[in-house]
Symmetry: C2
Subunit: 443 residues, 2 copies
């Protein structure tokens, strides 16, 4: 057989039962965010290769599916690359070591586009391109597939859906408050209870590192180690800091802060007092107001907690950062933060921006695993004997159409030879009422 | 500026106003087809390159966006290609003519995947892969983007949405009847009136060609000329047939059939009588029953008409073919037909299949051009003065949340310096009720 039945490596077909849940969840997301004034947008799945490889995407930039140039441009790239290779080979006759894949491919400039690996880069490009056509602040909801050429593994796919919510042009913490409220309301509507929104601020992370005496150019390395607190505990973090070459004194001073936080009734107040001049003055008030604003709705589905160990990987965050945690399941279901400097990379002028990315695939997984079913229409099936005369067929079809107009889901199908099995299958699919139509009505 | 604000060539960003219409149309499509027992499915946007280049896709196979291999596989392909080139160059020293782009690129086997150019190939692969998990007959609805590296032009984009509806495993014309009814019901719900479904059968096209004496291996060429009837008329078709080297006698005999059809009150009956043994016996009865079955619903939004000049390009069609025509606009909005031989290419066993592809982008274009607006929620905007104390902010947010729960769309935004302009903009976006909140309530 010439053709391949399986999907390409690492990607998957979605079967009807899961699609029902996905369609339902997308419906709830669109409806709920709309109530908060978010509008849907769509960007192309293909982006300029330059936009995808500008160092905003961190590790994801290594996982891009690249789109081959076409026609003359492709031929030119291949000629250029093979010329390059020839030259190098001439000049390196004594070096017999085989060149590795990446070095070999780098000679050729073969791709002009790539599949987007997230929705943030396309959103910022979109906003930069259409600023004058969009309201300010602009509240955007984008649901779409993204692609990453990750090593395939259980539950992680190379094509998956992301759901991003962003507010651009809002400098104050109203953005954070609205994003957290809209997102927690959505999760509540999907039946989630008892989850947490953890919140922190990159500026607090930096102030704590500065106070502890870490050199400024090592902050990111310190944060990567701190991010393991959940897994290796405070002692683990302390040892790893020292093993990585940081001074014992800084590590101890740093860990003492976390120890102090444990005892403090109000973590933000404690840090404000302890960090003193290391922390920008508005940071604490800003966080406190976000927590109060969200708390004002007195929703009991979730709690919003200050978590000074929250890091979030992307280096583009400039202020608040947050994460959705499901403590029962021990996982995170999305997160986000403020990234006030990214629009400037496209336009030269910074625009305040803050966003949330919901872990859509994880939510679908949780819902399907707990046996979530979508509320269904009433379902009827009409089975038609083979060879039913045209006039009778017409009557059945007219009846089906009438029922559909009144809101019933009607399946019209030919009767199979094994009618019993067919009816069992239909019952499984939720067709509780099954009518049969014969040439001889007395049958 | 390093980053590009524009979308990649030929693709486009979709702005909020159009997205509203798209989301609405997708909602109507999903809801209506569900009433007919169709279930949503999703396939990856990336397909195996072999599946996309197996000659099922006609001209579209020239327009594939190919995905570059990665890592060692890419390096191997490049080494292999450049070795190939070296060899050829050695053996062709006397030939100084530059090689063209395609020939050059053909030396390299650089792609292992491609972006799908339609939804039919992925559907058939999906069905072949999951037959045992799917009901029979299987009624599938697939809405998704497809990509074609066409020359960009007004209204034609390189990424566009398709909407396909297919029934697999149903050999009888119940498939055609249900597909036409579901599709016309959907179009009716979207406000379309007075459109036509034109129907024909590849077997009628073949019988007419055989009767006229065209050689069997030239049928496709004859049909391509016949397909121009709309544009060049019967005389034009006759001359082009002769100019293309067909016998004058065949051309005349062929055109006499169309002349006869014009006079005949019942085209199908006329052809049955005239074509005699050239036409398979069940073809006429099959078509007549489809027309009667669809007519049984007495829906006046559209008419179903037999059109013996309807060709449809794809060579994979094996029986009935149909097209949605909007006579007022002089355009087609989709079409489809029966393709009973395609599943066999994947599994070795043929499965009857019949489908419709709705021209989603064209429908959106028609709706937006005629100023269609989506029925909206009630919309309120709350404008907050900068520096409003936290307690007051909390009250406003709690009030907004309450209104949202009762079904109102509420936008909470900071008051701009130019409040008058801000309020005008909000009014344009449909926020008819705007409340303002000040630190000093008397302001």
């Amino acid at each position: 057989m010439a053709l391949s039945k399986k999907p390409v490596t690492g990607m998957r077909d979605i079967l009807p039962a899961e699609m029902q849940v996905r369609d339902y969840v997308i419906g709830v997301i669109k409806e709920t965010y709309a109530k908060f004034g978010f509008t849907s947008i769509e960007t192309p799945c293909v982006e300029h290769i330059e936009n995808l490889t500008n160092k905003q995407g961190g590790e994801n930039e290594k996982l891009i599916f690249k789109i081959l140039k076409r026609g003359e441009k492709l031929a030119a790239a291949l000629k250029c690359g093979s010329g390059q290779m020839g030259k190098e080979q001439d000049g390196a006759q004594t070096n017999d070591a085989p060149r590795d894949g990446a070095a070999f491919a780098a000679d050729f400039d073969l791709a002009d586009g790539g599949l987007r690996y997230d929705l943030t880069v396309p959103l910022v490009r979109y906003y930069s391109n259409h600023t004058n056509e969009l309201p300010s602040p602009f509240k955007a909801l984008q649901i779409g597939n993204v692609w990453r050429a990750d090593r395939p593994q259980k539950g992680r796919y190379r094509q998956f859906m992301q759901c991003d919510i962003d507010i651009l042009g809002e400098p104050t913490n109203l953005a954070e408050i609205e994003l957290i409220l809209a997102t927690t309301t959505t999760l509540g509507k999907l039946g989630f209870r008892g989850f947490q929104i953890r919140i922190n601020d990159r500026r607090i992370l930096k102030a704590m590192a500065a106070y502890s005496g870490f050199p400024e150019d090592t902050y990111d390395q310190v944060f990567i180690i701190l991010d393991k607190m959940d897994k290796i505990g405070a002692d683990g973090v302390a040892s790893e800091l020292v093993e990585s070459g940081f001074s014992k004194e800084s590590a101890e001073r740093y860990m003492a802060l976390f120890e102090g936080l444990k005892q403090a009734p109000d973590g933000i107040a404690y840090l404000t007092e302890t960090l003193g001049g290391f922390m920008e003055s508005e940071v604490a008030g800003n966080l406190t107001e976000i927590i109060a604003g969200v708390g004002a709705t007195k929703c009991s589905d979730f709690e919003l907690v200050f978590d000074p160990t929250l890091v979030r990987g992307m280096s583009y965050y400039t202020g608040t950062i947050f994460e959705i945690a499901m403590p029962e399941l021990g996982i995170s279901c999305g997160g986000g933060g403020r990234y006030d400097k990214m629009v400037g990379k496209f336009t030269g002028n910074d625009v305040p921006a803050c966003g949330f990315s919901i872990g859509f695939e994880r939510i679908i997984l949780i819902l399907t695993e707990k046996g979530f079913t979508v509320p269904n229409l009433k379902k009827e099936a009409y089975l038609i004997e083979k060879g039913l005369p045209t006039e009778r067929l017409c009557e059945v079809i007219a009846q089906a159409q009438k029922q559909r107009e009144s809101g019933v889901q009607v399946l019209v199908a030919r009767m199979n030879k094994n009618k019993k099995f067919q009816k069992e299958q239909l019952a499984e699919q939720g067709y509780t009422q099954i009518q049969e139509f014969y040439t001889n009505p007395l049958q």
